[in-house]
Amino acid sequence: MRISSDDVIFFEYGFVKLNMTIVTTWVVMLILVIGSVCITRKLVVATKISRWQSILEMIVIIIKKQIEEVGLYKAETYIGFIGTLFLYLFTSNLLTILPIYEPPTSSLSTTAALAISVFFAVPVFNIMEHGLLNYLKSYVKPLFIMLPFHLISEFSRTVALAVRLFGNMMSGVIIVGILLTITPFIFPIVMTAFGLLTGTVQAYIFTILAATFIAAAAQESEKGFSKRNE
């Protein structure tokens, strides 16, 4: 038995390998890109909007509200990155209902790539917002002794972020695979349905954690503090 979809190789030429993870990632990307382009091509500002536009507006508003609840009050700056993470993870985890599809998130390469992009997004967003000096200062707060601990937590939470998502999705795939050999009739469907729930929750958690990391590095601004106390 294989534990990741990296081992299914469709095409190989030299060091270029086309495995199932890449193909499923492309499928998810195609669905997201074509869907968004088709919907946003004819946007209208009116009381009567199309069905798809209202769905898209609902999704964007919900994501924006969640980002603001974490403590990032300028949600428009972050929604491009965080919202894309959520939509990608959500779509790729939900498509598990298709027969031969295996979610790209059940391979450690995908989740590690996403976690690394979060790892780099934290300094980029914070330097954009607060300047380089203020960001570097956040590493030596409250004392200079804390510097190594801040650095360790920076790396360990990236690893934890990658392994959490990978472990959850991989366990779903493996449990369904094992059950198919033991009780192939109805029980795998139940576990697939449970996998849909896990996938949704994990997509939400990955997104919220990414937002929390970005918000945690930023110093609590006065405006945000007073807004929370109201």
Partner: protein
């Protein structure tokens, strides 16, 4: 016992022990989290949605401890580097 049977049996036993011991802590922690959430929902039903959302996030983060153990035991069973090393030694050289 030769090397192959030692590595095989130790891997299988440790895989079982990993998931056994590793699931005790998260199980207790999840139970306590759910108890706390249910108590607060019973006291204040108005905040049920907030409590439920936070509970789900917390549960998934606790559960990831058990998932780490699961990943380790899966690696020990299906992708064991020591086993692969011994097998290539025996068959290849």
């Amino acid at each position: 016992m030769d090397n192959i049977s030692i590595i095989g049996s130790v891997s299988v036993i440790i895989a079982g022990l990993t998931i056994t011991i590793g699931s005790i802590g998260p199980a207790i922690a999840e139970a306590r989290a759910i108890v706390a959430a249910l108590t607060s929902i019973a006291q204040q039903p108005d905040v049920a949605s907030t409590v439920t959302r936070t509970l789900f996030v917390g549960l998934a983060m606790i559960e990831s401890m058990a998932i780490y153990c699961f990943v380790v035991s899966m690696i020990l069973i299906f992708a064991n580097p020591f086993w692969n090393f011994v097998i290539t030694k025996v068959t290849g050289g």
